[in-house]
């Protein structure tokens, strides 16, 4: 472990302003900072003393698809026994990141997510992805910055595993205050840091490569360039960096992290990718995202809201599919429901055969068709879903 050094500004003059700061080593004091989170709250690092803090820098190039990584991260936290209480204090960027991702419970483990602003410069990681764990004394206890060895569970495990105790009672037997820091909380912090470094930072690194390739575009054909594409999905505006050849389906799934639309055949033959554009059902695999700017795009994630449902309430068609077992494996289901919820607005005849014809663009390999037809007829005829549930 490296020799601890006093951070700039605390008992040491910041006289070396001409040199960009290097990333603080493990054991060094974490540079102090203050910032304002999305909710307008002031956060300073010193206020967070007393518990480990995880700092994640995602680099300058933003990609909302990282929300997938954060979801995985949230699941990891939920699965760690006793680890609940992690809290996301600040969320940078845009899109899905604007929602609080952690329950606001105990304050055991602040997680600060930062973009490539002044704090990143302070930490010597401007424009790159990096992760630091700051211990309760304010020192860096773990880090991953570009150039460090790849973070792997093996690289992390010895830090925590050799000292971790299964519960706080065991911590009391630790010989010193310093080693007592390597308790459950610290283990969790380090584990989470590794999770971020593995999932989130890896994505960020990929985005940096793209950013670099754009920066060095002189030799690149202009057709290979991504440009800002503004999409309105489920009532929210997204700006994605996309090449023209990215289909709407890939933009939603791979760039915006909206995975309700499924990729089945990717050639317009199965219907699994069905979404609504301006209220009409289309196949998101056969149109380029760049062509869908300025239109209202609805995926299964936003369908219920179009029917005025709030919270976890379902769209009537979603409920009808449940009522009638309109699915088995579920892969085609989001496409079936998106298609079906548009079919009820189209001028088809009343018969079951009309439903079959209207829905022929949605293939179900499980053969859930009888339930699908029944579900659609339930909605078309306005049959009460309550009475249906009552029979079950």
């Amino acid at each position: 472990m490296n020799t601890p050094s006093t951070p700039c500004g605390i008992g040491r003059a910041c006289d070396d302003v001409s040199d960009p700061p290097r990333a603080p080593d493990v054991g060094a004091y974490a540079p102090h900072f203050e910032l304002t989170d999305r909710a307008g709250h002031q956060i300073s690092l010193s206020e967070l003393r007393g518990s480990p803090v995880l700092l994640a820098f995602h680099g300058a190039h933003w990609d909302p698809a990282w929300s997938e990584s954060v979801r995985a991260y949230n699941r990891l936290i939920a699965d760690l026994p006793g680890a609940a209480g992690a809290r996301l204090l600040s969320i940078a960027g845009e899109g899905t990141w604007q929602s609080p991702l952690f329950e606001d419970g105990a304050l055991d483990l602040p997680v600060v997510c930062l973009d490539g602003g002044p704090v990143a410069e302070q930490y010597g990681v401007a424009g790159v992805a990096a992760v630091f764990v700051v211990d309760s004394d304010g020192r860096i206890s773990w880090r991953h910055v570009p150039g460090d060895a790849s973070p792997t569970p093996n690289a992390v495990a010895p830090v925590g595993a050799s000292t971790v105790s299964s519960d706080d009672a065991a911590d009391a037997n630790e010989p010193s205050a310093t080693s007592r820091e390597w308790t459950r909380r610290r283990f969790v912090a380090t584990t989470l840091a590794a999770a971020v470094a593995l999932a989130f930072a890896r994505r960020a690194a990929r985005a940096e490569e793209i950013a670099r390739s754009i920066g060095g575009s002189a030799a690149t054909s202009s057709s290979e360039l991504a440009s800002a594409v503004r999409l309105r999905v489920n009532g929210r505006d997204l700006t994605l960096e996309l090449e023209p050849r990215v289909t709407l389906l890939d933009a939603l799934r791979e760039y915006a992290g909206i995975t309700g639309p499924k990729k089945g055949c990717d050639h317009g033959q199965c219907g699994a990718c069905t979404v609504h554009v301006n209220g009409r059902r289309i196949l998101s695999c056969l149109t380029f995202a760049v062509m869908q700017q300025g239109k209202e795009i609805t995926t299964i994630e936003g369908l219920a809201a179009t029917a005025g449902a709030s919270g976890d309430a379902l769209h009537p068609m979603q409920q009808a599919f449940i009522d009638h077992d309109g699915f088995q494996c579920g892969y085609c289901t989001s496409g079936q429901i998106m298609s079906a919820s548009a079919v009820v607005r189209e001028p088809w005849g009343p018969a079951d055969d009309d439903v079959r014809e209207a829905m022929s663009g949605n293939i179900c390999r499980c053969g859930a068709y009888p339930g699908i037809v029944a579900a659609i007829q339930q909605v078309r005829k306005g049959t009460s879903t309550d009475s249906n549930r009552g029979r079950r």
Partner: protein, 335 residues
């Protein structure tokens, strides 16, 4: 998919200018082009999105009345808008049916009328860049001639290509004597206009199967005009395929009959799924006119329509299938 430049001009003059660049494709619905670009059968360097043109000129995406009772259908109109239009359903049932029996609800909301008549063949060898194909790569040979050719054409074929034209819509339009309005680039702003009869729009493969229409590079279809045809109010598009819905035609027939006093005064007959182009059959029409609408008359018309059909290893069944399809369509339309 190969990278490409994307532009979305706001005026037709700008679109014509953009379309003048080599290796450019126009896009509207994308249902055929995006599919073929994924397969790298189509590899345009430039893709020009025509959809914004409809914002400046709504007639490009809507249906309007023509003098004398015909309809002008904007080329950017989605198939579903035209299929459900009350005027189309009333005046040209076969046109509405040809659209509703094609593709799926989602695809019909995307695909444009102009794009539909330009769609490429579903020949599996055309779609497979590993296989020789005269249409895709002139001079490489036809894999279908001695390959699996069950879905291929029996009318209008050549020794260089037996690919079937897959459009249902174009079959109905051929029967209705529709014309295609085209804007062509030129010295004047906005270019010049020309019209092409639907029956002349597609060309036979001959020795150049890579040429499918008389449309020249950079030209833009602005509208499809369907002239008045009162007896088309009793018309029918009958489609026979391997499954009940959402499949290309093995055989199809677009028919309209004008019957008075037990005699056929006028008729329209076109076949789909069997020709290298949408197959208007004047021979069948001649065999119908002046006769009584009987099973024997219909059978003789079907024989006339399939005169000269050339079958290959796997598609001989189509000769009889097309005849029966036509007979049934004629029978149903007078029923």
């Amino acid at each position: 998919m190969k990278p490409f430049d994307y532009t979305a001009p706001g005026t037709i003059a700008d679109a014509l200018r953009a379309g003048a660049a080599p290796n450019t494709r126009f896009i509207v619905g994308g249902t055929n082009l995006v599919d073929l670009m994924k397969l790298e059968v189509e590899t345009p360097a430039h893709v020009v999105d025509l959809n914004p043109l409809a914002e400046a000129d709504r007639t490009l995406a809507t249906i309007s009345e023509m003098p004398g009772g015909g309809l002008r259908i904007g080329a950017l109109a989605p198939m579903s808008d035209v299929a459900w239009d009350p005027r189309v359903k009333e005046r040209y049932p076969m046109l509405s049916q040809s659209l509703l029996l094609a593709a799926s609800g989602q695809l019909r909301n995307m695909a444009s009328m102009g794009g539909n008549i330009l769609q490429r063949t579903r020949c599996p060898y055309f779609r497979d860049t590993a296989m020789p194909c005269n249409k895709r790569e002139p001079g490489t040979g036809c894999s279908a001639l001695r390959g699996f050719n069950r879905s291929h054409a029996i009318l209008g074929t050549s020794e260089h290509c037996i690919a079937t034209n897959p459009s249902d819509l174009a079959v109905a339009l051929a029967a209705l004597d529709a014309t295609v309005r085209v804007r062509t680039g030129g010295t004047t702003a906005g270019g010049a206009e020309r019209t092409i009869a639907m029956t002349d729009f597609h060309v036979l493969p001959g020795t150049h199967p890579e040429r499918e229409t008389v449309l020249r590079a950079g030209e833009i279809i602005t509208a499809i005009e369907v002239p008045a045809l009162p007896f088309a109010r009793r018309s029918l598009y009958l489609k026979v395929r391997d499954r009940a819905s959402y499949a290309f035609a093995l055989a199809s027939a677009a028919v309209a009959l004008d019957v008075a006093n037990g005699r056929i005064r006028a008729s329209r007959v076109a076949l789909g799924g069997v020709g290298t182009k949408p197959w208007r059959s004047l021979a069948a029409e001649r065999a119908l006119v002046g006769r009584a609408p009987t099973a024997a008359t219909f059978r003789s018309a079907a024989n006339a329509a399939l005169q000269g059909a050339v079958a290959h290893k796997d598609n001989a069944f189509k000769v009889e299938l097309a005849k029966r399809t036509l007979v049934r369509a004629l029978t149903e339309v007078v029923a």
